[in-house]
Amino acid sequence: MRAVFEPGFFASSPVHIALVAGGAVAIVSAVIGVFTVMRGQSYAGHAFSDISVTGGSGSFLIGVSPLWGFAGASVLAAAVMDLIGIRKPRGRDLATGIVRGAGLGLAALFLHWDTTHTSASGVTVTILFGSMFTISSSIVPVIVAFSLVALGVTALLYRPLLLSTVSSDLAFARGIPVRLAGAAFLAAVAIAVSLAAMTIGAILSTALLVGPAATAQRLTSKPAWAFTWSAVIALAVTWLGVLLAYDSFYWPPGQHGWPVSFFVVTLIFLAFLAAQPVAARRARLERRGLAVSEG
């Protein structure tokens, strides 16, 4: 047991924060991610993580707290994407790409001003590849609060969103404001992703949004179970990732420790691949079940 949990793991305060904050963010991302993947909006979700970087770097300049910079930029981007308002996936991805390109261009500009004016070298790296072990405990309550908001919006929208994802015409016929629900959801994604980007880095915000949800979809056809599986997988990979990252400090040869992002991403990838044979088997069983009931 000692080899698995290296000394001081449970006593370490940064670890506690990483587990709590990281875990909370992971669950929120995973839950929202289920809808995101279902709606084919993975690209938009990814775009938000980098756009929030723009907001974060811009916030240095006007002296606003990074949190508002991150979240604000993403929500703004969501609004723009929604205004451009293309429903077909191809056109939507193109619009997402353009918005992301423009947003990143701005990020480049802000960071350029940052480094020349505040000489914070490596701030680029920190923002883009952020680490879970450097979250300060003061923002934990804020993280939790925002997480609850994002989750709340999603829970509120659950049924209209599910129906309009399956068929927007069906939803429209039932009087569901499809456009509004979609926009609200996109805003929720923006908040969740920017939150995650700030907390655990831009890489993991995308990874935890898409990976666990995509894996869960391979494991089950029932929506409620998809959310549960997604959250469970996300929490598991995050905690395991934190553990491995902590342990890696003690691994030979050097004592520098490997980044959490690397572990979590690798675990997600492996989980996704491992789910494929399960998915194939489930599909076969379901088709047999269909055959039986058709007689």
Binding site: K88, R90, G91, A283, R284, R287, R288, A291
Partner: protein, 304 residues
């Protein structure tokens, strides 16, 4: 074309039907067909999608592949195209077996798929799409030649699409896109033309125009045309033959012989009624005299 009870042989000789026996829809294949579906069976994931499907199509014949959704129409088309290997039997196109490798002979079969993703923003004109039907599988850029352009123009004229030859395909109406896709499929001069549910999203007028166009193509260009559809009524006036799929089995022959209560009942494996209402044909499942059997409609014509 005579039908008789067949035990699965594909001998050349056709014998007269035994008297007193209803046509079973089983054919004797003479070997002169453009398309020969010979005892094809497909089993996927433990289910028999198709069982012992057997029919032939000659040049110039217009046949409808009728069946409800899920009956196996698309599966059968995929087998004919060589995209799916049958579990039993084989398909021969112009005498050569249709396999994954044989598929590479471009232009052997013209195929019009069910849905085309045509984006109105795409900078592709009708004539470009038709041109791809000529040589889309060859590498490189198409060499601008007068001969090629004339062939494309001629094909567009033949399907009545010359008016919108230079318009973006994504901007065309359903019926117009259908014509372009037919031109695309025909331009390489195939002897067999397959269409997967071409009438599905068309309005009435376009439907009639497309059916008329296809019948004319079959006749004038001596192409065997096979259309899959779940409604047979639009095709009844022009079909030479119907291939009726139900429960994975097929009955093939002239419409007035196959669309009969006894033939279809045998095919379905339970009783169905074939009703003629105002010139339309409706196939209804369930016995009329059983108060507890709700008459679920198996096939319908226009007007549910």
């Amino acid at each position: 074309m005579t039908e008789q009870h067949s035990t699965g042989t594909s001998e050349a000789a056709a014998a007269p039907p035994a008297t007193g026996q209803a046509p079973s829809g089983q054919e004797v294949l003479t070997g002169q067909e453009v398309l020969t579906v010979d005892g094809v069976g497909v089993r996927l994931a433990g289910r028999d999608i198709l069982t012992d499907v057997r029919f032939g199509l000659r040049r110039g014949e217009f046949a409808g592949l009728i069946g409800s959704n899920g009956a196996g129409k698309t599966t059968l088309l995929r087998v004919i195209l060589g995209l799916l290997t049958p579990t039993a039997g084989e398909v021969r196109v112009e005498g050569r077996v249709s396999t994954r490798r044989a598929r590479a002979r471009a232009g052997a079969i013209g195929y019009v798929p069910q849905k085309i993703m045509l984006d109105p923003d795409m900078p592709v004109r009708a004539r470009d799409l038709v041109g791809l039907g000529l040589d889309g599988q060859r590498f490189g850029l198409p060499m601008p030649s007068r001969v090629r352009r004339e062939r494309v123009d001629a094909m567009l004229r033949a399907v009545g699409a010359e008016r919108f030859a230079d318009a973006r395909v994504g901007n065309l109406s359903g019926g117009e896109q259908q014509r372009v896709m037919i031109a695309h499929a025909l331009i390489s001069g195939p002897r067999l033309l397959l269409l997967d549910e071409p009438l599905a999203n068309l309005d009435l007028r376009s439907e009639q125009e497309v059916v008329g166009l296809l019948a004319r193509i079959a006749r004038e260009q001596q192409v065997a045309v096979l259309i899959s559809a779940h409604e047979m009524n639009p095709l009844l006036p022009v079909m030479d033959r119907v291939i009726y799929l139900a429960g994975g089995r097929a009955a093939s022959g002239p419409a007035d012989e196959i669309i009969q209560t006894d033939v279809l009942s045998r095919l379905y494996g339970h009783h169905v009624d074939v009703l003629h209402v105002h010139g339309r044909v409706i196939v209804v499942a369930g016995r009329g005299d059983d108060p507890h059997a709700a008459p679920a409609q198996a096939e319908t014509g226009q007007g549910w």
